[in-house]
Amino acid sequence: MIQTLVNGLLLGGLYTVIALGLSLVFGVMRLVNLAHGELLMVGAYGVFFVTVTLGLDVDPFLALVLVAPALALLAYGVQRLLLTPLLRHGLEPPLVGAFGLSLLIQALLTKAYSGDARSLDASYAASGFELAGIDFRVIYVIAFGLGIGLVWGTRQVLVRTEIGRALRAAASDAETAATMGINVRNVYGIAFAAGALMAAIGGVIIGVAFSITPTTGSTYLVKGFAVVVLGGIGSIGGTLAGGMAVGLAESIGAEAFGGEYADLVVYLLLVAILAVRPTGLFGRAVTQ
């Protein structure tokens, strides 16, 4: 039982990392990025490109140092050229645009790497250790650490830096922020780029801990969304709580019903939460 709970919490770290980008983008520009799952995959495949296609035998997370900024830059471009202009046209065009983006990315990845499942090689990918009678998987512990670290880091940036203030201003009232000299389009681009960066990290964790295909993204989009909804829209600390909750739910669900049904438990949890309390545990009320 303790093992299940520990697994759940550690897994929660991964889900926090995955959801953080989603939560940030939604908080700042009210856009739930339907292509977020694909951004995770791009991060993972990007590292795959560096380590396998280019043949650089480095640790995936190290390769990420090269890959993540490139992805963030691309994401910035996509946001400014495609998504921000669509935000002005109502609620559906950004959805459709992100959807189209997700299709495009899936197709590109399939073209480049086929639909076969792959994973990222790391010396610690399968290793674990034992502490007080409980088994810990190294990659899970790393994910947990990253989850907490990124949440803390994001909060620091949002609260203590100038760009963070700009992000928060744009999030709370974009028009007024613009009148105060904040380049809102630039801020949106940065938020999206940051989201993509964190998605890349999440993708690498998934690639090391499990396996990836070009279409694996959708599952994580839904799980990420479950985290965001549970934790409350726009609440960074809530994302951590939500991540833990989803991780625990999946872990307990796997223990109770079998591993094949673990995902199903999370999907149904999301639907249940949406039905009952779309505002989540910590968030403010939203009608959209």
Partner: protein
């Protein structure tokens, strides 16, 4: 005289529909089996696109979950044929009704949601259905079911059925667009708060649209099962189906009758068929097309055609006016 014009306006769709039905029902006599197969696919895609058009276009709810209803219809038919004595056509009808029923059930948690919440909620339902069906031993899990060959009609019959379903679902969209139900539904789509303010009950309307959409998806899924004989969750509950429905409708012209028709032709015939050997290239072009359309011409090809037509009409009118 005016009575006649009014009659044409009310029932002008009848001759075209009748002609289309005749063409489809006599199809096997002037189309060879390979062509019938192609048209079967076109018909099923069109029916599915119109089904999505109902909920996504007219209803304004971006549903990512319609594949679940296709699969529901397909699998119900499979299960009924394998395990009961119910024959093909009643089973198909039951498949549609089952899908509609599932939609009503699913609508309860989803319909207080709007926009992205509904989209991802419906995606979760679709993924949940896929996940469940991939593990359920009763329906063969990932290996799926095989429909008993003796119960399934000939390809020609399926071709005709698919054609009829495609025509009727297009007609359904056409009629809904011009009905009071449709007007109210679109009012909800365009501004739910304002519409509710004048007494339009959004939730009930969306339920109905969703159920209709699911019904068409279920019937189509049943027909697809009949054609495939061997069905698996990945094909019948898979996201590519949902993707196709959405892309074809939006590229063609969301919320219009002709949109899905054009969309199916452009996306399936021009892209997917031509690039059959390179599936990811065609997927790439499709995704790109969707992005270009939503960015440049959100109304789809239909809107572009209307715009073009308008410009032609304007230019003609300009020439009729004598220069000062």
């Amino acid at each position: 005289m005016s009575g006649g014009v009014a009659a044409v306006r009310r029932f002008g769709w009848a001759p075209l529909t009748a002609a289309a039905l005749v063409a489809v029902l006599t199809g096997p006599s002037w189309l060879d089996p390979a062509q019938q197969n192609t048209w079967f696919t076109i018909f099923t895609l069109l029916a599915l696109a119109q089904a999505w058009n109902l909920i996504g276009g007219l209803g304004g709810q971006f549903s990512l979950g319609n594949a679940a209803f296709v699969g529901a219809g397909a699998y119900l038919v499979g299960v009924l044929l394998v395990h009961t004595g119910i024959s093909w056509w009643p089973a198909v009808l039951l498949g549609g009704l089952f899908a509609a029923g599932a939609a009503v059930l699913v609508a309860f948690p989803l319909f207080r949601l709007r926009g992205i919440y509904f989209a991802i909620g419906s995606l979760a339902i679709s993924l949940a259905a896929l996940s469940w069906m991939s593990n359920w031993e009763f329906t063969g899990a990932t290996k799926g079911l095989n429909l008993p060959l003796g119960e399934v009609p000939l390809p020609e019959e399926l071709f005709k059925a698919a054609g009829v379903v495609a025509i009727l679902s297009t007609l359904l969209v056409y009629l809904v667009l011009r009905s009071r139900f449709g007007l109210r539904l679109m009012a909800i789509r365009d501004d739910e708060d304002a519409a509710t303010g004048v007494g339009v009950r959004g939730t009930a309307l969306k339920f109905v649209a969703f159920a209709l959409s699911a019904f068409v998806c279920g019937i189509t899924g049943a027909l697809m099962a009949g054609q495939a004989i061997s069905i698996q969750p990945s094909a019948m509950f898979g996201l590519p189906l949902t993707t196709d429905m959405i892309v074809m409708t939006i590229v063609g012209g969301i919320g219009t009758t002709a949109g899905p028709v054009i969309g199916v032709f452009v996306v399936y015939y021009l892209i997917e068929r031509q690039l059959e050997s390179d599936a990811s290239l065609s997927a790439l072009l499709t995704g790109l097309l969707l992005i270009v359309v939503i960015r440049m011409a959100p109304g789809g090809i239909v809107a572009l055609l209307k715009l073009g037509l308008q410009q032609v009409v304007d230019r003609v009118r300009q020439r009729e006016v004598p220069a000062p």
